[in-house]
Structure formats: structure tokens, C-alpha cells
Amino acid sequence: MKNKKFYILAILAIAFSSCNKELDEVNINPNAPEIPQPDYLLTGAIKNTSDTYWGTTNNLNSSLLFVQHWAKVQYTEEDRFIFSNSSFTALWSTGYAQSVAGLNKIIELADAQSNPNYKGVALVLRSWVFLLLADAYGDVPYTQAGKIKQFVTPVYDKQKDVYYGILNDLKSAQSVLDPAAGAARISGDIMYGGNITHWKEFANSLRLRIALRIADKEPTKSKAVIDEIKTEGGNYIGSNAFNAQLVYQASPQQNPVAASFETRNDYRISKTIVDKLFALKDPRLPVYASKTENVTPQNYVGIPNGSTNSEASAIGLANSSKPGAYFLNPLAPAVILSYAEVLFDRAEAAARGFTTENAEDLYKQAIRASFSQYALTGSDVDNYINQAAVQYDPGNYKKSIGEQKWIALFGQGLEAWAEQRRLDYPQLTASVNTVLNGKIPVRFIYPGTEQSLNGQNYKNAVSSQGADLLTTKLWFDAF
């Protein structure tokens, strides 16, 4: 009898374990990998981040309007700053849940596979993402971000702390990135084709950008960062060939601008920049703007920012200029950080006395670099630089650099907007039809979902930074 019981139990035990095994196997997901490869993640992270950075919500339909590069010719609500707290969710959701999450996984895999170059590249890209977030929203989660196992409701770090944090991250990226021939290689790098030297240049150029971002508030830190780079013997991006950018491909991998114009016809170039380019006889005008569809006396006609629907409609779709063919091309790049920007940054660092370089010389080089970015060379460039309105003004470097940088950053809405807020040049005015009492937005509103999903930390951020409004100035925006 005892034996019988034992046998029954044994049979049951075997039956259960074989069932368990079978049930385990049924539940293995046949549709998606559980363990990713770092190279595929890297491609995904670069592509997804670039799409959102250069895409409709963060660029065409917001920052490019705020800096008056572009204007709306139809459905002009955004150009009049009519936004809600669901208007600015894309940068937050893609930035954190796609970019930061994917890059963190690359870092984890890089550590496990002892490939510091993956780690370095991921740190550089992640720092850029955090920079975009901090520039746009102000205080944002950084130290507790992307760590769901520990933090379901991440605290918002102060904007200053985010900048300091990513400066450290970039410094360590810089130190782990190893371009030596024998070092571990990376794949899936659709920006620099695995060339670690250029990643190091990009990392340093980002550090320079951040150093200047905080220069009005923390000049000592700014100088220290620039000195540190110099001490390390670091290089910056040194030619337009090695701009940090993603060059898009034919559909379906086309540039987000091209994708938008395939199905919609909402945007035109802004009258503000068209007027400026006309005034300076800027050879970049035909690059930045298309000729109007109907023949008009001027060929290039901008739409005034903040037009009402009927005002814009009165000018008409056929009598106003779309952005230039360069920008509408499906293969156009999404520029993250250009050689021209590096030169402007170096000029400003010199002007602020952080370095001993020649500010004016760098300023001119920067303008030349911007021209050569669009393959514009020759005497036009010299004539342009030599005209009085373009000449470098050492007494007001912010104006000289601000205005030229604004032109050079055409299309890079988020960066142009950050720099315009910081340098306060060019001085832009809001249309009377806008709804912020004559002000232009100086930040994004937090996604409305933060109120419900991370309410306490959201409230803390608001009480520390100021009301969650488009017009609340951010920490770096000193003037």
C-alpha cells in the first residue's frame, strides 16, 4: 500500500514536471527577441531620436515657429501659440521611453560584453537626449530616469543638475571611447559608420555647447569644461563632412520634413527670416526657401508668423514659399551638431574670455562653414561676410553671433530656439494674434500625463521652477 502511494505520487510528479515544461515552452514569445544586440539597438536609437528631434511636434509645429524660421499657412493655431498639455508629449515619450531606454540597454550590454565603445557612443547620444529634454522643459528626471525597477515615479532634477550630470557623462564617454585599431569595434552606427574618432569629436562639441548653455549662469563651470577638453587634448568637429547628423534615405526612411509635405501642406518659410535674408542679400535664401508656385515679384515670400487662418489664407498657398528643396528632399540630413555651430561656439567662448582664440576670426569661419554646409562658395561668401551688417561687433558679440547663428541653424528648430532664448538675438516679436500677451514661448509644457502619473514630483518641479506655462523662463535663460 505504501508503495502504491509512492508510485502514484511519483507518476503525478513526473506528469506535473513535464506539463510545466510544456507550458513554459508554449509561453516563449515567438515574435520578438528577449535579448537584443547592441548594434541593432544603436541603429534604432539614432533613427527614433532623430525622427522625433527633426519631426513635426518638436520641430515643424513648435520650435521652428517660435524662432520664426517657419510659419504656418493652414491650421495656424500652433503659430499663435495655442497649445495644450498634450502638445509636447513626443519629445518626452520618445526621449525617455525609446532613446534613453534603448541607450541604457546598450550601456548594459556593452559592460557585459566589455565593449567600451558601445558604452561611450550610447553615453554621448543619451547626453544629447537629456540636453534636448532639459532645454525644452527645464527640470526633468535625470538621475532616476530610465530605472523602472527602482523608480516608478522618478524625481525631477533641477535643470542645472541635469546639465552638470551630462557634462560628467560626456567626460566619461570621452575617456572610454577608444579609436585605436585594436579596440573593440561597433556596428549599427548610421551616423559615423563606427568611426570612434568622430564620436569623440561629437562628444567634445556637445560639451562645448553645454558649457555655453550655462555660461550666463555658471561662467566658472563653463570655462572649466572648456579647459578640461583642452587639457584632455580633445578635438571638436572639424569639418562639415563630419557633422553630427543622420542622413535620411528614400521612403520609407525619408526625412520627416519630406514625409510631412507628402501628405500635408501646412508650412511655409517665415516672413521674418525671408526679410532678414533679403536684407543681407544672403545667398542661402534659395537654399532655405522655394520659389512661390505662382510667379510673384519677389519669388520668395514668407508668411508672417502668427497669422490667423484667414490672414494666411489671404496670402495663399500658391503665393508663399515652401522651405527649400534641400530641406524637402527625402534624403536630407537631420543635423544634430554642425561644424558651423562649433565655430560659433568657439567664437563665443573666446568673446567671453574663456579661451584666448580670436573671436572675430572664428565668427567669420563659422559663417563660411555654414555656407559650405550648403556647398555655397566663392566671392558671394566674401562679399557677404564683408558687409557692415554682418561684421563682427566685439561690443555686442551676442547680437553678432546670435543673428548669424540663428541663420546658420535654419531647420534645427530646437537648437536655434535654445540659442535664441539664451543669446536674446535676433530679437523676435510675437504677432498680435498670438495668445501669450505678446510673448514667445520659452519652454515646452510638461506632458499632461505627468500630472496624473508622476503628480508629486511634477508638483515639486513646478513649485521649484515656476508655473507650468509656455512663458516661464528656464534656469539657463538668464536674460
Binding site: N20, N29, T43, A97, G146, I190, G194, S313, V435
Partner: protein
């Protein structure tokens, strides 16, 4: 697993063989019903010796009994009869059917028939005839208003989906629809995505109502615990017709025709046409003319002034309203349904074969579908002890095009009509191609011609489905049966989505093929034991096991841009094809047991227990057990009350627990593929190391949970059933309290965590409610009048979301407003932007005089109703019967997306007030005609030289410092401000509807007998005839766009419809 079944069988056998018998003289006999049918399975009990037996298939029995013993015959649905054994020889017994509803037999879980009085929970049945005559092609709709606690929401017309929820939502994130079981086989009722912006019908609509004998609704876990995992939301048991009830060959022919017309449309204004700020002139409809790219109706007055329009080729023609320009787009839909069935039964067999054909044409031009179904049911008595039953149901659904829904500009029906210029003459659009073969439309900046959308951008659907089962019943000994049943539900569903070349917004068109293969298999083995233990006690026992597998496979292929126009094949693609596939599988093992002990036919105790092992849970939490208990007490029998006034009184109650597993693959995070990124040659030159094609992976949006536990629902139910005055007054009341916890839900988290959501195992929701049915028969003569009321009120409350209490909201669905589950609130809160108000509730306006938006989103209502109910009046006189069903859903809110959009676009009649002096507009001007200076009211006369406008409106609010608002806004600006304030589009969703009117006539036998017919009935049926009461404007408040939990967010839904038709049924 088989070992487990065997050990259970062994235990049961041991139990049974202990019943020993003493022998006496043998009594034989037969048992028949009053109408002469033999009755198999009648229990026979000898009072003196406690011996029992049951009748065989021919109603015959044989039992040894003492010579002067008493035989007690009892059979479900018949009055118990005692006879004294007076002599030897065959006994002939006729059992009288118990007229008492109280001995009514109902089908319960696992298809077990039970006396209703023995059940400790509520169960309600609907007979097949009610369904067949209701003429709903989606059988779910026929339940609306008839069964207490069952809430049905129909999307649109007869081809869309319908959602059914019993006793409220018990699962925060999961499926809240009941399980459907057809002849013992669980069948799929999912609604597989909505490719091509179509509202695909939920798949239970494949079952032809003509083939249904009865529907039994098991409300909630108490009744359905034996079904386990999927019982928490209740079970709808469908029993199909068989040949059993026939005496000899019977043929039935059924034919009906139903017309379908519009029930609701938005109410449009007809005073102002297309344009903006009163100005409009057409050149190309895309911005070349004056506001001709503006697809809104803020244009000039429709007073016949001469303006070039889209069809006039630059000629100025009268600008006049076309009040029915939307209505005229729709056509009268119809459906033709023809079926024939043959049934026969002999001594050793019975069968029924039916064929049904349905052809439907929708109200949207070029929409329709066809259904063919074949059903074959048979049972064979292989040996006296062994019976084989086989059921097969094959259905084929075919549609060339289903009506476009939702808000996609290339496919939607109602999107364009909420932006439709009020001057547009739809007749000018019927020819939808211009001379160049391009879309010809009133607006070319955003839309294609609505007929182009209907005829060129089509979605076809083709579903082939088979539901089949084989069952064996073996009578081991008297009272002990072994049952084995294996069944499958298998279907293929293919959709072909065409967007034509030249469609506005999709200039190259596109073509997508979607295919689903769905399969569920269930195999059950059970042992059933029934025995009258002695005079006082009866016992029914059941033990068994189930193996279930389910797989859902989806394959999608898409040509995102066509290479050449008009050719719909995947190879005709300009860009690389986009493909995806997904396979989802699950498997579970279960063992279960149930028992009932009855005492003297008035006191019953029921117990069930089940243990599941599911593949979707981690090994350590895979096995979960859940029991239920319930009992009933029939007071009238216990106290032997035989009063006319109190005919029947029963009290019942029970407690149950059910477990529920997860969806497949919810344990370990995975990464998603993106299309490979192909580097161009230039970059390859620059970076020789680079690889040409780079696959992409991205993190998943949900942080999955390797430690998932099963969801658990416990429910307590109490009820009273009472019958008064000889059944003239019938009353049934239930109260229940259901707690669902450990809920598996992907709660949204701040994306700064790196994920959009996190799979939790924590949520807790409580539902409590009451259900009442009241039947009254005021007149019961040759003319009979029955009134059946049903009423149900459910109160839900979300108790918590996560154990750490970090999360307060779970987002169920989002459009402009959201549906959320928020802690401390009822399930299904509507959440969105609200007016900013001061302490006194006054709306605060901003500097321009427009209402300000509260920066904090608010709970604006809930979509679930406070109560639902129906009143069914039936009048019968001889063969004539009239049924009238009115049903109501009271309370709850809806976000009216049509109103929100239509207010913005100025097409709705509700945007008329203030738009001109004759509509109450205030006269104002801008000082010096400078709009930046703001509006000034004209008091007396305006200064010379300024333009005076008469469309001023002052919003009824206060300024931030509490003063009454006095800023005048132009009407267009005024109405547009509400777009961003969801609160302004929240409406009370209550409705009262005349749901069904049915007049049927059974021709008298004396008329049809000479024609050798057995029965002829004719009926006239109208459905959804009239919305008697509603508090919404512009839409039918009873809208669902799918069968998911995200209800209450109306978004440009297609108009609902009424239908009326004639039905003819002939039996040979």
C-alpha cells in the same frame, strides 16, 4: 494530466460501488409525458428499499421492488409522481409536466441541466424564437433590454460590433465581455483590430440566430465558476437546435426582409456656408481662392449671393444651403435572410441540418456583406449505453466593402461630414472623378470626394469559420455517466485594404492585406453521478478535466505606396513592403468538480472547485485553485405553503472565487523590430566600415512582469424569487458584491521611467449591484397581457491600482478626453481638460474674454450608467402576439466628439446663436478698424469709418478678479475656444429607446393543415425605432466603436440606424 483524470475517476467509482442493492421481484414499465413522448432518464426511487434506477432511452425501466412498495418517479420539468405497486406486470406511467415555473430547468455551467430552484445564483434564459424574430444579424443585440444586468452597446447599423457586459466591468484592463459557449464549446468573440478604419463585427455574430434554441446567461462568477479563467465576466451559453424535439421529419423555411434607415444625424445649421470670417470664393479648393482651402462653415450667409463654387468653373452662382446634403449621402440599407432546415429523429438517431443565407446592404453607399452558414447536429445511439453527438457549424462571411468609420481622412464616413460646407450640393459630387480622372471635390486641401472614399477606398473581409465538436456519452451504470467532448473553433479572417492612388493625404494610395487565423480547442472528460440517495436526499456529482489550447496568428503585408494606380497587389509597390506577423499561443490544463446535495426538494447545497494550470503564468504561480458554494431554500415547499397568493418563494445565496490567467508572453521584456535602415553609397564611401543595411531594435513600451500571479475575483450573491397569485406576479431580486484583485494591468507610468507602462499585478476593483425582474400578467384570458420589467444598477469603485499606491490613474483609452480608472472613483471615469472656475463655480475668462482652461485635467464624468432596464409588454390573442420593448440606460456621460468638432467647424445648428444680429449677435467694431485694439460694443451709433460686425458674443464668465466678463468675441472665435476644453463636449449619456416592436401571427391549424403544413407564422419586426429620450445632441448616446473597455468617447461615429422588416416562417 491524464493520470489526474484517472485518479479522479477512480475516486468516483469507489464512491459509487459502495451502494449495494437487495433484490426482490422485478417491476418493469415505461414512462411517458402527457403528450405521449417517452421520457428517458426519469429517476425512479423505491421508498421502502431506497433502491433507485432511471429509465432508458425508450422510457423503459426495470427494478426489483417489494410487492407492496411505492415507486417515486421524478424528472426535471415534470411533477413528481408516486405509484403503489399493486400487481406484477408492466407499469405505464404518465408524468404531468410541471406547469410551475418553479420546476423550470435551466442550462448551467458545462451544459449541465439543473432545476432552477436548486441554484443559489441568478440565471436567465432567452428562447430561440425571441432571437430569430428579433432579426438582428449580430445576436448580441437581441439581448439588449431583455435580461437584467446585461448591458449591450451597439456601434452603428447592423454590420458593426456590439459590446456586451454583464454586471459591470470587473477587470480594469482585461476583457470584460462574457465567455460565449456554443453547445459546450467555448467560442471566440474577439474583435480583431480595425485595419482600414472599419468596425469589424465581434465574431459571435457568425452564429445564425435561426439556429439557436436557447441562450442561458450566467451572470458573473457565482454562476459560472466552473468555467474558471474566463467566468469572471459571466458566460453566455448558447444551445443550438437539434432534431430531438421533432417527431419524424420536419422541414422549416424562414425568410425575412429588413429595411434599415438613419436614426440619428447631427443637426446642422443652414444659415452660413463654407469659409472663414464671412468670406469665401472658390478657385481650386486648396487655398488659391478666398478661404477655399478652409474646410469650415464660417463663411458668408447662405442668402443666395453669387459666389464661384466648386462645380461652377469660376462662374459666380447662388450661395444657398443644402440642408440635407449629409442625409442624402446615405441610402436605405436592407437585408435579406433566407434559411431552410431539416430535422428528423428516430429511435437511435436524430439530426438537424440547416442552411442560411444573409445578404446585407448598408446605409453607406457601396457597403454590404453576405453570410452563409451551414449547421449540422446529430446524435447516434451506438449501443444502448453509448451515444455519440456531433455538431458542426460552418459559416462564411464575405464583404466587398464595410462602411468606413472613425477619423481617418482617407476612409472615414463622418469625418468629412463634420467639416462639410453647408452650401455643398452633394448631388454635384456623385460623379466623383473630374475630366482628368482625379478626385473632384468641394475641398481639395484635405479631403477626397466622399463618394471616392466610399467607392475607391474599400476594405473587404472574408471569414471562413468552423465550430465543431464530437461528444461521447457512456452510461457506466445507472446514474453514472462518462462524457467526453472535444471541440474546435477555427477561423480564417482576411481583409484587403485599398486606398486609391490620388487620395488626398495618401497621394500614392496603398494596399494592405491582413490575415488572422484563430483556433481554440477544448477537450473535456467528465464523470457525472446522479442519485436519489433516499427519500430525503438527492446527490449529483461531477468531476472532470479540461485541456485548452488557443492560438491567434496575424499576418500583415502592406504596399505603403502603389507604383501604378488601380492595381491592388502587393507587388505593385513603390516602397519596400511592410510586413509583420504575430503568433500568440496559450495552453491550459484544468481539473474540476462539482456537487449538489438536495434535501426533500426544497433545500439544496452546491459546491464547485477548479484548479487551472496556465501557460501564461510563471511556473511558480501557474497553478491556481478556486472554489464556490451556493445554496437555495424553497420556503413554499419547506413549509408546505399552498396559497394562491404566495405561490412560490425561494431564497438563495452563494460565494465564489475565480482565477484568471494573463495574456500570453507577459513575463519577459522583448524588443521591437523596425525596418532596416539602408545607408546610401555616399556614406559608405565616407565610412568604409559601415554596413549597408542596419536592422533596428527598440525597447518595448511595457515593462513586463516575470512574477505574475493569476487575477482573482470573488463574488457574493444573494437573491429572492417569489411568485404570487398563481404566477400573475413574478419577482426575482439579486444583490451581489464582487471584488476583483491582483489584476493584471499595464498601468501607464511616467515615460521618464523608460517605459510607457508597467505590467502590474495589483489593481483592485469592487462592483456591487442589484438586479430585479418583475413580471406581471394583468390579463390572462383568451387575451393575455404580460409585462416584464428588468432593472439593474451596478456601482463600481476602483480601490487601488498598485500595492505601493504610487499610481492613481490607469488610462483605459484616449482620444481628446481619456477614459481612466482612477482610485476612489467608479470605473470608466472620463478625464480631460475643464473650464477654469473660481470658488463660486463661475467660469473664469482670460484677457480676450475667452474661457480659460484649467491647467489640471479633471474627472468630468463616467461612462458607465447608473442603471439600465427594460420593459417588455406582450399582448397575445389566439395566434396573434404583439411585443413592445422599451429599454433605458440612465446616467453616465459621453464625450461627444462630433459636437466638439462640429462646434469648431461651425456646421452644427448649435453654433447659430450669436452669429448675426438675427441670431442674437452683439454689434461691435474695432477702433480705427485695428483688430489689435480689441472689440468695442456699439452703443447707439458706431464712430464713422469703422466696420461694424454683428456676430459678437460675450461668454458668460468672470474675469480673474471676479468681475463679469464684458469682452465681445466674434462668433467664430467664440465657438472655436471650446475645442480645447473637453468639459464643453461632455454630455449626459442617458437614453430611453423604443428598442423592439414585434407583431407576429401564427396561422390557425385548421387553415394550414389542409396544405399539409405544420405551422406558419408571419411577423413584423421593428428595431431601434425611436430614441424616446436623450440628453445628447447630434449623436446617438448608445455608441461603441469597438468591444473594448474604452467606451464613452464618441468620435465621429457613423449614424445609428432603425430597422423594420417582415419575417415568414413555414414548417412542413
Amino acid at each position: 494530466m491524464i493520470k489526474i483524470f484517472k485518479s479522479i475517476a477512480l475516486i468516483l467509482l469507489l464512491f459509487i460501488t459502495q451502494q449495494l442493492f437487495a433484490q426482490n421481484a422485478t417491476i418493469t414499465g415505461t414512462v411517458k409525458s402527457a403528450d405521449g413522448e417517452t421520457l428517458p432518464g426519469v429517476s425512479i426511487f423505491i421508498k421502502e428499499t431506497k433502491q433507485t434506477t432511471i429509465t432508458d432511452g425508450k422510457g423503459a425501466f426495470s427494478i426489483s421492488a417489494p410487492e407492496k412498495g411505492t415507486l417515486v418517479f421524478s424528472y426535471i420539468g415534470f411533477k413528481t409522481q408516486e405509484i403503489q405497486i399493486s400487481k406484477n406486470g408492466p407499469v405505464s406511467v404518465v408524468l404531468q409536466s410541471s406547469d410551475n415555473a418553479l420546476d423550470e430547468v435551466v442550462v448551467t455551467a458545462l451544459g449541465i441541466s439543473r432545476q432552477k430552484k436548486s441554484l443559489g445564483y441568478a440565471v436567465q434564459e432567452l428562447k430561440g424564437q425571441d432571437l430569430a424574430e428579433a432579426k438582428e444579424s449580430n445576436l448580441v443585440n437581441a439581448l439588449a433590454g431583455k435580461i437584467a444586468g446585461v448591458r449591450v452597446t451597439n456601434s452603428q447599423g447592423s454590420m458593426g460590433s456590439s459590446r456586451v457586459v454583464i454586471r459591470g466591468e470587473t477587470s480594469i484592463a482585461g476583457n470584460n465581455q462574457p465567455l460565449f459557449v456554443v453547445d459546450g464549446i467555448p467560442v471566440d468573440n474577439s474583435q480583431l483590430n480595425s485595419a482600414g478604419a472599419r468596425d469589424y463585427a465581434n465574431t459571435i455574430s457568425d452564429i445564425n440566430p435561426e439556429d439557436i434554441e436557447s441562450i442561458s446567461v450566467l451572470k458573473g462568477p457565482n454562476a459560472a465558476a466552473l468555467y474558471g479563467s474566463r467566468a469572471a465576466a459571466g458566460v453566455i451559453l448558447i444551445k443550438t437546435k437539434t432534431g430531438k424535439s421533432k417527431k419524424g421529419l420536419g422541414i422549416a423555411v424562414n425568410s425575412n426582409a429588413v429595411l434599415e434607415t438613419l436614426l440619428t444625424l447631427p443637426v446642422y445649421q443652414n444659415a452660413f456656408g463654407q469659409g472663414s470670417e464671412g468670406r469665401f470664393s472658390y478657385v481650386d479648393g486648396a487655398g488659391k481662392g478666398l478661404n477655399d482651402g478652409v474646410d469650415e462653415s464660417w463663411g458668408p450667409k447662405l442668402d443666395g449671393r453669387l459666389i464661384p463654387q466648386f462645380y461652377s468653373k469660376g462662374v459666380a452662382v447662388p450661395f444657398v444651403a443644402h440642408p440635407d446634403n449629409v442625409r442624402d449621402f446615405f441610402q436605405t440599407g436592407y437585408s435579406l435572410n433566407n434559411g431552410v432546415s431539416v430535422a428528423d429523429a428516430g429511435e437511435k438517431y436524430d439530426y438537424r441540418i440547416s442552411y442560411n443565407n444573409l445578404k446585407q446592404v448598408g446605409i453607406v453607399p457601396n457597403s454590404g456583406q453576405g453570410k452563409n452558414s451551414f449547421v449540422f447536429n446529430t446524435s447516434l445511439k451506438i449501443t444502448p449505453k453509448l451515444t455519440l453527438t456531433a455538431n458542426a457549424n460552418y459559416s462564411k462571411l464575405n464583404s466587398d466593402n464595410l462602411p468606413g468609420t472613425g477619423g481617418s481622412r482617407s476612409t472615414s464616413t463622418m469625418l468629412q461630414f463634420t467639416w462639410f460646407g453647408r452650401q455643398v450640393d452633394i448631388n454635384q459630387l456623385k460623379n466623383y472623378l473630374d475630366e482628368n480622372g482625379k478626385t473632384f471635390n468641394w475641398n481639395n486641401s484635405y479631403y477626397s470626394n466622399p463618394y471616392w472614399v466610399a467607392y475607391e477606398n474599400t476594405v473587404s473581409q472574408n471569414r471562413n469559420r468552423i465550430i465543431g465538436s464530437l461528444a461521447l456519452n457512456y452510461k457506466i451504470i445507472d446514474g453514472l455517466d462518462f462524457n467526453f467532448r472535444s471541440g474546435t473553433d477555427y477561423y480564417n479572417d482576411r481583409r484587403k485594404v485599398r486606398i486609391a492612388y490620388g487620395t488626398n493625404g495618401t497621394p500614392f494610395g496603398s494596399y494592405t492585406e491582413s490575415a488572422f487565423t484563430v483556433n481554440e480547442n477544448n477537450t473535456d472528460a467528465t464523470l457525472n453521478f446522479n442519485k436519489q440517495l433516499n427519500e430525503d436526499f438527492s446527490l449529483e456529482l461531477l468531476g472532470g478535466g479540461n485541456i485548452r489550447t488557443q492560438s491567434i496568428e496575424q499576418n500583415d503585408q502592406s504596399a505603403p505606396k502603389l507604383a501604378i494606380a488601380g492595381l491592388y497587389t502587393l507587388k505593385n509597390s513603390r516602397d519596400p513592403l511592410i510586413s509583420s506577423n504575430n503568433l500568440s499561443r496559450l495552453k491550459s490544463y484544468s481539473v474540476y468538480a462539482s456537487g449538489q446535495i438536495g434535501f426533500r426538494n426544497y433545500l439544496f447545497a452546491n459546491i464547485t472547485a477548479r484548479n487551472d494550470w496556465s501557460s501564461t503564468l510563471p511556473a511558480q504561480n501557474r497553478s491556481y485553485f478556486y472554489p464556490s458554494f451556493n445554496g437555495s431554500f424553497v420556503a413554499t415547499e419547506a413549509f408546505d405553503i399552498k396559497s394562491e397568493a404566495l405561490t412560490y418563494l425561494k431564497i438563495r445565496g452563494g460565494w465564489s472565487k475565480v482565477g484568471k490567467d494573463a495574456d500570453p508572453y507577459r513575463l519577459i521584456n522583448t524588443y521591437a523590430f523596425g525596418a532596416p535602415f539602408n545607408i546610401n553609397p555616399d556614406l559608405l564611401k565616407l565610412y568604409p566600415d559601415i554596413v549597408g543595411a542596419n536592422p533596428q531594435l527598440s525597447p518595448g513600451a511595457i515593462d513586463l512582469n516575470p512574477n505574475l500571479k493569476p487575477e482573482t475575483t470573488t463574488s457574493t450573491e444573494l437573491g429572492v424569487e417569489a411568485v404570487f397569485f398563481n404566477k400573475r406576479l413574478r419577482f426575482d431580486l439579486s444583490a451581489y458584491n464582487t471584488n476583483s484583485y491582483n489584476q493584471i494591468l499595464a498601468a501607464d507610468v511616467s515615460q521618464s521611467t523608460g517605459f510607457s507602462s508597467k505590467l502590474l499585478n495589483a489593481g483592485k476593483i469592487n462592483n456591487k449591484g442589484i438586479e430585479a425582474q418583475l413580471g406581471i400578467t394583468p390579463i390572462k384570458k383568451a387575451f393575455t397581457w404580460d409585462i416584464d420589467f428588468n432593472f439593474a444598477a451596478n456601482r463600481s469603485r476602483v480601490i487601488e491600482l498598485d500595492a505601493e499606491k504610487l499610481l492613481t490613474n490607469y488610462v483605459v483609452a484616449s482620444s481628446s478626453a481619456q477614459v481612466i480608472a482612477t482610485v476612489g472613483q467608479p470605473y470608466g471615469s472620463l478625464f480631460g481638460t475643464a473650464f477654469l472656475r473660481d470658488g463660486n463655480g463661475n467660469i473664469i475668462v482670460n484677457a480676450t474674454g475667452a474661457p480659460a482652461t484649467n491647467p489640471n485635467k479633471q474627472v468630468l464624468g463616467k461612462y458607465t450608467p447608473d442603471w439600465i432596464g427594460g420593459v417588455y409588454n406582450t399582448f397575445t390573442y389566439k395566434g396573434l402576439s404583439l411585443g413592445v420593448l422599451v429599454d433605458a440606460s440612465i446616467g453616465g456621460s459621453i464625450y461627444n466628439g462630433t459636437y466638439s468638432t462640429g462646434t469648431y467647424t461651425g456646421v452644427l445648428a448649435s453654433t447659430l446663436p450669436g452669429r448675426a444680429a438675427e441670431y442674437g449677435g452683439i454689434s461691435y467694431y474695432y477702433p480705427g478698424n485695428d483688430k489689435t485694439k480689441g472689440t468695442v460694443r456699439v452703443n447707439g451709433t458706431a464712430p464713422a469709418g469703422v466696420t461694424v460686425y454683428d456676430d459678437g458674443i460675450i461668454f458668460d464668465g468672470v474675469t480673474a478678479d471676479g468681475k463679469p466678463n464684458d469682452k465681445i468675441l466674434p462668433a467664430q472665435q467664440y465657438y472655436k475656444t471650446f475645442r480645447n476644453i473637453d468639459e464643453s463636449s461632455i454630455f449626459d449619456a442617458s437614453y430611453v429607446k423604443l428598442r423592439e416592436v414585434k407583431l407576429s401571427y401564427n396561422l390557425p391549424a385548421k387553415w394550414i393543415r389542409p396544405l399539409s403544413l405544420q405551422g406558419v407564422s408571419v411577423s413584423l419586426v421593428g428595431r431601434n425605432l425611436w430614441i424616446i429620450h436623450r440628453n445628447t445632441v447630434d449623436i446617438d448616446p448608445e455608441v461603441a466603436f469597438n468591444t473594448g473597455n474604452g467606451q464613452g468617447l464618441e468620435s465621429l461615429s457613423n449614424p445609428s440606424t432603425r430597422s423594420y422588416g417582415i419575417n415568414l416562417n413555414v414548417k412542413f
